[in-house]
């Protein structure tokens, strides 16, 4: 069972590094949207990796760790998405480096509003 141990420890190490990168990403990125990108997702992967690592190390725990991972995989992107949407609706726009890239979502919202007014 040596091999499983190695896999488990490897997963835990990778997870810890990703959690660290998640924190760093949240800290370093320039605006909210990029922070969500870097932060919550890296930390989600990190968390999933650590949890699975523990599951591999302790085979009896595996099923439950899997359940946690699945919940995380459904719930965490949802919350990131909801947060991004809420922030956008609160008129906080993403920064763009390239002026040519237009905010497609804003345009679509404007269209919808115009439709409503008509």
């Amino acid at each position: 069972m040596q091999i499983f141990d190695y896999i488990g420890y490897f997963l835990i190490s990778v997870g810890a590094i990703f959690l660290f990168l998640g924190g760093l990403g949240v800290f370093r990125m320039p605006d909210f949207y990029t922070r969500v990108q870097a932060g919550t997702k890296a930390s989600t992967l990190g968390a999933m990796s650590i949890i699975l690592g523990v599951g591999v190390l302790q085979p009896e725990w595996f099923v439950k760790t899997l359940v946690i991972v699945i919940f995380l995989a459904i719930a965490n992107p949802l919350s990131s998405h909801a947060l991004a949407r809420g922030t956008h609706k609160a008129h906080q726009k993403p920064i763009v480096k390239d002026e040519k890239i237009e905010d497609a979502y804003e345009i679509a919202e404007h269209k919808a509003e115009e439709k409503n007014i008509k």
Partner: protein, 169 residues
């Protein structure tokens, strides 16, 4: 879109799903636990089956299960690949990014499939679903490679959607 499955199929699907989840929670084959699980999941599915699933058992054909497993693999590979991508960006002192919100058109019709697609897009770093209006996904992209629908579809959604269509449509 296909027509919805019958109530009975939906109900039993919910019931069995919840029961399996219960077994995962308890991780025990004790007879009392199993009976409690059957009972509790029965009660919960009584008032939730109407919205828990639209497909019922029709989703459980061998082909679809096979594609689902394939999807999981593709997803995990994408996840790892793109995470290292983000790691590269975060560690790089210059932060090489070119962010923007782009539009992606999806061919999926089922709400649940759209959720899976959007979650997958969100979880693969570099992209974040901001909203869905009808079949248009608005995605925040860390390094925009083009704003026309074809590029965005190919770059962001194609890998996932090819498989999802086979499962849900």
């Amino acid at each position: 879109m296909k027509k919805e499955s019958s109530k009975i199929s939906k109900f039993f699907y919910t019931w069995i799903f919840l029961f399996v989840l219960w077994m995962a929670f308890t991780t025990s084959l004790d007879i009392a636990e199993l009976i409690a699980g059957v009972f509790i999941s029965f009660i919960i599915s009584l008032f939730t089956y109407k919205f828990f699933t639209t497909t019922g058992f029709s989703i459980l054909t061998p082909k679809k299960i096979f594609y689902f497993i394939k999807y999981l693999f593709v997803f995990i590979i994408e996840l790892i690949k793109a995470n290292f991508d983000v790691a590269r960006i975060v560690i790089n002192p210059k932060l090489p990014i070119n962010p923007g919100i782009v539009e992606v058109e999806s061919k999926l019709t089922s709400d649940f499939a759209k959720m899976i697609l959007a979650n997958s897009i969100t979880l693969t770093p570099g992209t974040l679903t901001v909203d869905i209006i009808d079949n248009k996904l608005f995605v925040h992209w860390l390094y925009v490679k083009g704003t026309d629908t074809e590029t965005t579809y190919n770059e962001i959604a194609k890998t996932f959607e090819d498989i999802l269509i086979k499962i849900y449509e």
